[in-house]
Symmetry: C2
Subunit: 442 residues, 2 copies
């Protein structure tokens, strides 16, 4: 993923023009989400680490330069690209923190060509990973600590890299395990897996399949019971569990039909057989609303497998993210397009208790009792501190989740209105508007 051509052509067009003209003034770009999608009351920041790695490695190799020359970039542009590195500053909200619309997830300050080239990669990673983290956090809220969440999305994520990101992010927000073995290995997550219908069908009878699986995989005995008839499957699972004496580590998995009714009936059958320890696992196209509904109906479920609808954030598969120039060479910048007005200036988010946020300027003093959300994470093109760890992201998330106001915890909560704006930022808006009006007209 380190390729420096992982960018939109227009970034290279603009960068070449800046470099040719000696336009080396420091630009600040602000990356934020304009509006939250329907059904989202907050975002969970994610993905900054890959961005910093990409920036650290930004340089065009000879093959890339040859390709650019073949596209028509002249020798002046090619020489400029050859020497280009990212030498700038990055501020970012730490991964795992809860943020809202209009609040920068990250800001980049560097000579303008460099910051411009960073746009596509940063937007791609921060948009996607934040979208997934925000969806997964809703699942966590729905589970309310009463069920274990397991990530099952690999087969339907938008590619393999997406599957890896999804597994990592669900681990970040408190999922108990992932089905994705490579992600479990790479990120130190717990892998989890049951069996497929095909396993049952490869044996002459369901009972034989259950017996074989329990013998061969003593550590992972979750019986998938809906291949033929769900309650018949539960009966077979009970029989094999008792026969092999594995109640303490067995579970049944319900994967189709009316999961609430089936969970009640399976629980009753298990309890009557003296198998109170056998757990009930449900799956099958579920999302956070299904979890809420099932728990609301008192369904006796212990764990939920969350696949596709989590893995692509099906109800909101993207965020309305933007990467906007807010300052160039010390001049505050803003855009006046209909419906797309931007706040000028390098920013900071000041958070008071209760997640009452104030959008202000990077250079402002913190109002009393507030913390600053954006941290300085890269200077002169090098990371300040070690690469982000999943553990520190988890701590950020747990801390913010516990501080999330009650009014935002419901799955149907509306997003807060736009952030409060500091008086310094308001003054800058007036100044930048006047400048923009002049730029438009003259």
């Amino acid at each position: 993923m380190a390729g420096s051509l992982l960018t939109d052509l227009y970034e290279l067009n603009m960068a070449s023009s800046y470099l040719r003209r000696g336009m080396n003034g420091v630009a600040t770009f602000s990356l934020y989400v304009r509006r939250l999608p329907p059904g989202r009351a907050f975002l969970v920041a994610a993905g900054i680490d890959k961005c910093l790695s990409w920036l650290e490695e930004l340089r065009f190799d000879e093959e890339e330069l040859e390709y650019l020359a073949a596209l028509g970039f002249d020798s002046t542009a090619i020489e400029a690209f050859r020497g280009l590195r990212f030498t700038g500053e990055v501020w970012a909200v730490p991964e795992g923190r809860i943020v809202f619309a209009e609040e920068p997830l990250a800001e980049v300050s560097s000579p303008i060509a460099e910051a411009q080239l960073a746009e596509t990669f940063l937007l791609n990673q921060l948009t996607f990973q934040t979208a997934i983290a925000s969806k997964a956090a809703r699942c966590r809220l729905a589970g309310a600590g009463r069920v274990e969440l397991v990530e099952f999305g690999f087969r339907r994520t938008q590619g393999i890299e997406a599957a890896m990101s999804v597994a990592r992010i669900t681990g970040l927000v408190g999922f108990a395990a992932t089905s994705n073995v490579e992600a479990a290995r790479r990120y130190g997550l717990a892998p989890a897996g049951t069996m497929a219908h095909s396993y049952i069908e490869a044996f002459p009878t369901e009972r034989e399949a259950f017996r074989a699986f329990a013998s061969d995989l003593p550590a992972a005995t979750t019986f998938l019971v809906d291949t033929y008839d769900t309650l018949g499957g539960v009966a077979h699972a009970i029989e094999v569990t008792k026969e092999l004496g594995i109640a303490s580590r067995a579970a049944v998995r319900l994967d189709s039909g009316d999961l609430v009714a089936l969970a009640y009936e399976a629980r009753r059958m298990l309890d009557e057989a003296g198998l109170e320890d056998v757990r009930i696992f449900v799956s099958g196209g579920l999302d956070e609303r299904d979890i809420r509904r099932m728990l609301g109906a008192g369904a006796p479920i212990d764990a939920v497998g969350m696949g596709t609808r989590l893995g692509v954030s099906a109800d909101a598969p993207y965020l309305d993210s933007a990467y906007k120039l807010v300052d160039y060479g010390g001049r505050p910048v803003m855009k006046l397009s209909v419906g797309k007005v931007t706040f000028p200036g390098a920013k900071q988010v000041f958070r008071a208790p209760g997640m009452r946020d104030l959008l202000g300027l990077r250079d402002e003093a913190s109002p009393a009792g507030t913390e600053r959300l954006l941290e300085h994470v890269m200077s002169a093109g090098r990371r300040l501190g070690p690469a982000g760890s999943l553990e520190s992201s988890r701590r950020c998330f747990e801390s913010d989740l516990s501080a999330l106001p009650v009014s935002l915890r419901d799955l149907d909560a509306a997003a807060p209105a736009g952030p409060e704006v500091s008086s310094a930022l308001r003054a800058l808006v007036e100044e930048a508007t006047a400048t923009a009006v002049r730029a438009a007209g003259s």
Copy 2:
């Protein structure tokens, strides 16, 4: 992407059990889409090539085996995994072909442990790439040959790999260009790019920005005109175009507001200035319905940039795909779960003119006047023929697109009802149902 742990844990659980038991019978798994999502009347098959590469490279290295041992797989399982390769057969619908629900996109026949291990990777790639190809084909239909389509999705796709796949697939279905430079290089696509608002804002005035861009990038002079005021921007673009004499290669890009009204007005202004050759490019959260609406309103647009909503297939970000065991050791297999009944047996799709498809068995003779959709693409674990080329996929798509019945070409067309089923397959369903009932009960 070659890692053999890119799979769900349950695949490894099941495979280890099969290998331990010497269950080496040949299994056939069928990968298909159960139901098309709302708003889809057909699918365009895509993604098989990466699957074949992964299967050819399937083998666990020592680090992977060590990880599996650490997870608890015993030495018998580890030794079996060490020797495992994919030695089977794959049939697939060629990339670019149009298919429907219930029709296999691919079938895998091999010793059961191998075919089982293939499930996650194949589902991931075929589901995602087919979803995108199907969305992009709708954009192509909406464009109706009247506008050039340019893929702009990179910044909001679900990861970098997804961006690469999306660019390639849009090239496959006839998009003119992509903004993604690395994808253009890797896949031989035309890269395209304009300028961002930030470029305009980095100059003191819009006019100066336009002049600089046109001088520095003579081959790519598309003026983004909505930074301050769209029609004011058009006026500046006209001025600079005439001043530099670049009418034959200039364009204006409208990116916000009422694009139909603005396109009319921009066209009028350009024509009055004698700039009939200057093209109009539109963008900004557009999908295939927007294209239809704009063209239906007679908007004088020449090209459309399609970003996020194409790049994540926003209205249908996943497909209801399945990978089902349909035969094991010569015994036809089917599942009886509520709402998830499957067709048993290794299959073939027989297509009569007018895309009237018959779902039958692989071993059936072709009914007169039909072609067979599934081709034998891998034997004994090796590709039959060279890796798929984008050019051959394009030809498949163009041929099928021209044959697509009028009734399925409208963006609101309903999907055809389930496929017709051959009498041989119907007979097999009866046989397999009886077997499944026995397996459930005994």
